[in-house]
């Protein structure tokens, strides 16, 4: 039996109103609404979940859970999720009710704000990547890479080569999407911290659709993307570059390197760590591949008064029109995260973003030197951006280092196995904490 008592904060109908509404529909009770459902399917027992609670109790309960987590004062861990400074204005803007609760902007007349913000986002992504066309974003950097691989495949060329220096989380997602399409994914070996060029050149053949490269790569090293682009194009395949967006402020862009598609994880652009999500996958392509891009794209047009305005465009690529022939099934993306990135970039501006990149690099260089002096040798002698790998004696030593840092409220580098650790520094790390970290490491290594 449904109904009767008060319904809680989010159901406004009173008992009296319910009766009036039921009567208007020619019904007597809420149960009548479900008379079309076979009785044997209906649940007789209440659900085995807790009783509802007032807001104050729920908030207290959620606070209790939040307190059980450790939020480190100092973070030297990246590997796909980065702690950067987020100007207060970013949250002020993205918290606005209209942006937060609106649906996908199908009704252009009452969605110009969100449509225009996506147009601005697309422009920013084109600027960062040096590419011609950007979509409105996808779920995260890994799915962006996987979708980009799908864009390159055709009947003749269906194999994807993924450099062994690509983040294993991205590789896993690329493999999953390829399992869907029954396509091959082959790993190109890594050599001295970057893609093994000789091996790559031997692996490119008439069935290779594309090569996925990460810049800077998972180990923090810069790849020779230009040379790889030449090699890949000579083999008739396409190059996808997965890039760190902060690094793009200073690094040679995918467009300048000759990549066909640029993708990446947009989380560093103003999104908190949030235990892994929501994040943002950005995707930009060469002019020739625009109509293969998945998901929403916003275009400029005019209305019946000739006024400039914006609409969702090239929708013939999308699932609600093309169904099984669509370029992807994506519908909801990460629009609010794309807005976050747009506002972050507007606040930082060209100089702010360039300075962030420079500081990330400077701090990483300082940390790398300090750790080396403390006894953790860098593994690769390659140009790097803000991450690098060091070698400890063994796994036991890695854990001793991490435990000692943990006791000081410091999250150390990510263990990669074999005594190796991947460290990251951003503009958030101070010289004082890097010195302190090196001191702690030195003490542990002495033991």
């Amino acid at each position: 039996m449904l109904g009767g008592e008060a319904m809680g904060t989010y159901i406004p109908n009173t008992g009296k109103e319910q009766q009036e509404m039921l009567e208007a529909c020619g019904m007597r009770s809420l149960d009548d609404l479900y008379s079309g459902i076979p009785d044997d399917l209906k649940r007789r027992e209440p659900l085995d979940i807790p009783e509802g609670k007032p807001e104050a109790d729920v908030v207290r309960e959620m606070q209790r859970m939040a307190r059980k987590n450790r939020v480190y004062e100092t973070v030297f861990r990246g590997a796909g999720a980065y702690r950067h400074y987020i100007p207060a204005i970013v949250g002020e803007v993205t918290g606005k009710e209209e942006f937060r609760t609106a649906y996908t902007p199908y009704q252009a007349e009452i969605s110009q704000g969100v449509l225009q913000s996506i147009f601005e986002y697309q422009t920013d992504i084109c600027e960062l990547t040096g590419m011609a066309a950007s979509n409105a974003g996808v779920y995260d950097g890994a799915t962006a890479a996987a979708e980009a691989c799908e864009m390159c495949r055709d009947r003749k060329r269906s194999r994807v080569l993924v450099s062994g220096t690509v983040d294993p989380k991205i590789l896993s997602v690329v493999r999953t999407y390829a399992f869907g399409r029954d396509a091959d994914v082959v790993c190109v070996p890594e050599k001295d911290g970057t893609t093994d060029m000789e091996a790559l050149s031997g692996m490119l053949d008439a069935e290779t659709a594309c090569v996925l490269l990460q810049q800077p790569n998972y180990f923090g090293c810069a790849e020779d993307a230009e040379q790889i682009a030449e090699m890949v194009h000579a083999g008739g395949a396409k190059l996808i570059m997965s890039c760190n967006p902060i690094a793009l402020a200073v690094m040679k862009t995918p467009g300048e390197c000759g990549a066909d598609i640029a993708v990446g994880e947009g989380q560093p652009l103003g999104l908190p760590l949030n235990f892994g999500g929501p994040y943002l996958g950005f995707m930009a392509a060469d002019e020739k591949m625009v109509r293969k891009l998945p998901g929403r794209i916003v275009g400029e047009t005019t209305d019946l008064n000739g006024e400039r305005c914006f609409v969702l465009t090239m929708q013939a690529r999308e699932q609600h029109i093309r169904r099984e022939k669509a370029s992807s099934n994506i519908c909801s993306n990460e629009a609010l995260c794309a807005l976050t990135a747009t506002v972050y970039l507007a606040a930082m501006g060209t100089e702010g973003l360039r300075k962030t990149a420079q500081m990330c690099h400077d701090k990483a260089a300082y940390l790398r030197g300090a750790l080396e002096k403390a006894g953790l040798k860098p593994v690769y002698d390659r140009p790097f951006f803000h991450e690098f790998v060091v070698q400890a004696e063994d796994e036991e030593q890695v854990h001793a280092v991490l435990n000692a840092l943990d006791a000081e409220n410091i999250l150390g580098g990510l263990p990669l196995g074999g005594g190796r650790m991947l460290w990251c520094a951003t503009e958030m790390n101070t010289r004082e904490e890097m010195d302190r970290t090196a001191d702690i490491v030195r003490e542990v290594l002495k033991r």
């Binding site: 109103e17 509404m21 509802g52 937060r100 400077d362």
Partner: protein
């Protein structure tokens, strides 16, 4: 409205970053040659610009939002508060298990409650949206058939009333799509279904209640037909809001389910995301689930990976802060609130339908579930006024229009889903607006073609936008 780039002037300086306290190091990698052109705007202008944009964006709190199939319910303020707790936002996804016990508890408890609501045995929270969940669920089905050496099952049956994502997801998962027609009552045509199942059937994707707002009473027979043919049944949870706590997909014969936390569980849509599309399954599919699951062992919660998992469908554990919001909502409404939510969503839909059906022809004039579909086919023939014209007219009365031209099996369709969070007063006002717009359109069809009359932008030229795409700002060089 100006673009942010048109408010820009180079040389503006901002001070957001921490003080620089280490020596500058020369970058050894190749540098970008082309200058980066981000907006250079003072903070006050950033704030004003996006405030202006917000004013031209319609959120749920800006008025009635009966967008069919999208479940645009009110998004609780409490969930914004809990999701913003630093104990959640500040956690790195690659921290060790013992330092993320709170996050894992959130995931565990959400999963437990959603499993109970759907009647499933296991669940992953990794998929980032509904369509992503569909893709994930279909990969489970594919992996299961493969694990039994049954690779010949390459077809997925999809009713013609299905959401466009269903066939698109099936194609991405490598399946051939077989469309199953609906019968005259809007239900799955059982005869056609029987004709299409066979040794090549991998599974069926179904939304129930379906996209015309009807609960298919033959559901047990439908799922049995597919099971007997050796296929599995996939439940598209887009319309779960109508029936949660009343009937469970798991009890209807479904093996895999995806949910939309951003619909049924009240998390905001964000202008098109982030959503979250958890996928639940029966025990025999558990080993194929992607990502990690939070599991309790010896008094603490751990991340556990399934043995034969299909691989990750995105990085890390999913759209975590969306899960925090959904859990906040679930803890609030609780055991009694789940079926009450469903019943009031269905009540509101039926009430609004009854207030309209003497003037608006219904595609199926029977008791509906959480939504109903209007067909303006005759109106279009008689007066030239289309579903689009009526939808645009409703904007002039402060409403977000219903979903237009969907489902595809109804011509000149308007799909209306009021949700349970609307008051009777709102529904009454909406009914009046619907009726006025119709009367006005009848009296003056020419004006109807030009609505809305009250917005700054009216009827953008979509053909022009698609023919010569301009998809980024032209800096004039």
């Amino acid at each position: 409205m100006k673009l942010i780039f048109e408010r820009s002037a180079s040389g503006r300086h901002t001070d957001y970053l921490p003080s620089d306290d280490v020596p500058s190091a020369e970058m050894q990698f190749p540098l970008r040659e082309r200058a980066l052109r981000l907006p250079e705007v003072p903070e006050v202008e950033v704030d004003r610009h996006y405030t202006e944009l917000a004013h031209e964006t319609r959120g749920v709190n800006g008025g009635f939002y009966p967008l069919g199939s999208c479940t645009m319910k009110y998004n609780p303020a409490a969930a914004e508060r809990t999701a913003a707790l630093e104990g959640f936002t500040g956690v790195h996804p690659l921290q060790e298990d013992e330092s993320v016990q709170g996050c894992l508890e959130v995931m565990l408890r959400t999963e437990q409650m959603l499993r109970e609501i759907t009647g499933m045995d296991a669940m992953t929270l990794q998929p980032a949206a509904g369509a992503h969940g569909e893709f994930t669920g279909l990969l489970l089905i594919k992996a299961w058939h493969r694990s039994r050496g049954d690779a010949a099952r390459n077809k997925i049956l999809v009713p013609d009333s299905a959401h466009g994502t269903n066939p698109a997801s099936a194609a991405m998962a490598g399946f051939e799509v077989v469309n199953i027609p609906s019968d005259a009552d809007g239900y799955v045509d059982l005869k056609a279904l029987r004709e299409h199942v066979g040794a090549d059937t991998a599974g069926l994707m179904l939304t129930n209640p379906n996209t015309v707002g009807l609960f298919d009473p033959h559901i047990s027979e439908i799922t049995s037909i597919v099971h007997e043919a050796g296929g599995l049944n996939y439940y598209d949870g887009a319309n779960l809001n109508a029936i949660m706590g009343i009937v469970r997909p798991g009890d209807m014969g479904f093996d895999v389910v995806h949910l939309n936390l951003h619909k049924t569980f009240a998390t905001p849509h964000g202008g098109g995301g982030p959503g979250s599309g958890p996928v639940g399954c029966k025990a025999f599919l558990r080993d194929f689930l992607p990502g990690f699951r939070a599991e309790e062992q010896d008094g603490s919660v751990h991340r556990v990976h399934a043995a034969a998992r299909v691989g990750d469908v995105r990085s890390f554990g999913g759209n975590f802060s969306v899960v925090v919001k959904a859990l906040t909502y679930l803890l609030s409404i609780g055991r009694e609130g789940v079926p009450q939510t469903a019943a009031n969503a269905v009540l509101n839909a039926n009430y609004l339908m009854h207030r309209l059906k003497d003037v608006y022809p219904m595609a199926f004039d029977v008791t509906c579930m959480h939504e109903f579909v209007i067909t303006l086919e005759r109106m279009k023939e008689e007066t030239g006024v289309s579903a689009l014209d009526i939808a645009k007219g409703l904007i002039d009365y402060g409403m977000h229009p219903p979903t237009m031209y969907f489902p595809l099996i109804v011509h000149e369709a308007l799909m209306v889903e009021p949700t349970e969070t609307e008051t009777k007063q709102t529904l009454d006002a909406a009914a009046d607006a619907f009726r006025t717009v119709l009367e006005e359109a009848r009296a003056n069809p020419e004006e109807a073609h030009h609505r809305p009359l009250t917005t700054r932008i009216r009827r953008p030229d979509e053909v022009k936008a698609a023919r010569k795409p301009v998809i980024r700002y032209d800096f004039g060089d």
